[in-house]
Amino acid sequence: MHGPALGEVEISMFGPGYGESVLLHVGDNNWLVVDSCVDSSSKQPVALQYLQQIGVDPSEAVKLIVASHWHDDHIRGLANTIQKCPNALFVFSSALKRKEFLSLVFAMGKRPLMDTSGASEFYSILHALRERKNAGLDIPRFAIADRLMWRKGFSHVGGDYGCEVYSLSPSDESVRLALKKIASLMPQERDPKRRLIDRSPNHNAVVLWVKIGKLSVLLGSDLENINHPGCGWSAIVSSRMRPLEKGAIFKIPHHGSANADHPGVWHEMLDHEPLAILAPFISGNIRIPTKSDVKRICSRTSCGYSTADVKDQKPKFAQKVVNKTVNEVVRSIRIVNPQMGHIRVRGKVVPMLTPWDVTLFGGALPMSLLYKNY
């Protein structure tokens, strides 16, 4: 596997079924990492693993790392990524620097009960940020609606172009509501200790607008809608401060759920038939995108791709007696994240936009094939 040419743009999205990470090459070996998930075999952040596979040194090449929010399906391996990329600016939501969130992280994340959770990963991130501060490296930047987070110019034979990264969320009102919600997650005296699980609607995630020459990419994170015009996608669509170009590539928010869909995004912020990518989310009774989500997305664009299928794979145990007992005891069983999927999009932005070259790896597949033979 080889990397993109210096003047070539790449958008890679990884996701095994629970977790996602987006990696962008914006030119001249400058890479941006948005969110993180880990490879189930190597336990390494999948974005860094891929960069190493194509011969890129992450410590030199990664210039921006974004934690769009703190849920563990978006930040596993992010502390490791921050530590291995000293040249990168770290960006996260302005709500997460507040005492409400930091207290939650120090309470829950300092003592992980099992495996990793969003809070324990963020605890490691705070540790990494303290090390950075001590080493005199860049301090993080805090994302808020309509803020320029990073920019860089590139010069090529085809022409000069620039890259700018804007955060389109969270709005001030979203931050206020998020802090209220986060405070409610803080345990109280005499509450039993448990792992932190937050499945509440996400209206605080950091949505990014990435301009690379004439190309605009909308990365929707997990932002959902709530019944409040000052929050979620309604606030972004109605903003007069956001970049007004239209996006050609769209990371569909919140795994394609209906609650994260806003018709105004498709009509006002995106080209006709944009290239749309998503990572599914499968956990417990939740399986998104649903069949109707897929139908809705496919009605809006014929160029949709998913990093993974939503079909279950049953585990098989070496000992027959274990297999037999498992099947007698549980109502249903499946392997978590059986295969990492990767959607890779490459193209040129100068002297003009070229057609996108889309390549699918691992479990990735066209959106129209989701739920086929299911």
Binding site: S40, K97, K99, L102, S103, L104, V105, F106, A107, K110, R111, P112, L113, M114, D115, L126, L129, R130, K133, I139, M186, P187, Q188, E189, R190, D191, P192, K193, R194, R195, L196, I197, S283, G284, N285, P315, F317, Q319, V321, V322, T325, V326, E328, V329, V330, R331, S332, I333, R334, I335, V336, N337, P338
Partner: protein, 197 residues
């Protein structure tokens, strides 16, 4: 605690265990499942039990020493430990497979959990259990975020061998005021250090 668990014969970690891929737990018939509770509740077999850390993982001990509870032990360090109670050995459990589970969703009659194998390096699995699979004393512990252990094996008792599935929930101490105050202080100190307003 030591009276219940009895003498411990710790195998040398470099010594081949008596049986491959099984762990043996001998317990007195009189104490039966209550002994099992002592072994399973609040502990994980992968912790191992070494002479340097004797009797460290009872439910009672969790109350007095929460730091033991909260440390996250390494996942792939299964030690084979053979417990021999002080009384006559009449029953034992031969473990074939064990998982550590965390509850992710709870409905009226079932719950979903993510399961991490403590017996091998197999990928994590997710399973749905009927609440009736859980001991009546543990049902009140079924909440999102709760941790439990699921073991499959054979229970041997007076010449009989019974295939068994055991689900035991971990009993964790409640949050204490000083822990919550410490978290808030750590948060403030961190924000001051990084000059976050």
């Amino acid at each position: 605690m030591s009276g219940v668990r009895g003498n411990q014969l710790n195998l040398n970690p470099f010594q081949k265990p008596i049986l491959d891929s099984v762990a043996l737990y001998d317990y007195d018939e009189d104490t039966d499942d209550s002994t099992f509770d002592k072994v399973f509740r609040g502990t994980r077999l992968s912790d191992g039990f070494s002479p340097e850390a004797p009797d460290e993982l009872s439910a009672e001990d969790f109350e007095s020493n929460p730091s033991q509870v909260n440390s996250s032990p390494p996942r792939k360090s299964l030690h084979f430990t053979h417990f021999v109670p002080k009384g006559a050995v009449r029953s034992r459990f031969i473990e074939l497979q064990q998982w550590e589970g965390i509850v992710s969703e709870v409905s009226h009659e079932a719950f979903f959990a993510r399961l991490i194998s403590l017996s091998d390096d197999k990928p994590d699995i997710e399973a749905e259990f009927a609440i009736d699979e859980v001991h009546s004393e543990d049902k009140k512990l079924i909440h999102p975020g709760a941790v439990f252990y699921w073991s499959i094996g054979y229970k041997e008792d007076r010449g009989q061998r019974i295939r068994a599935s055991l689900v035991r929930f971990r009993r964790l101490p409640a949050w204490q005021k000083h822990e919550l105050e410490a978290a808030k202080k750590d948060a403030k100190d961190f924000a001051d250090l990084l000059e976050w307003k």
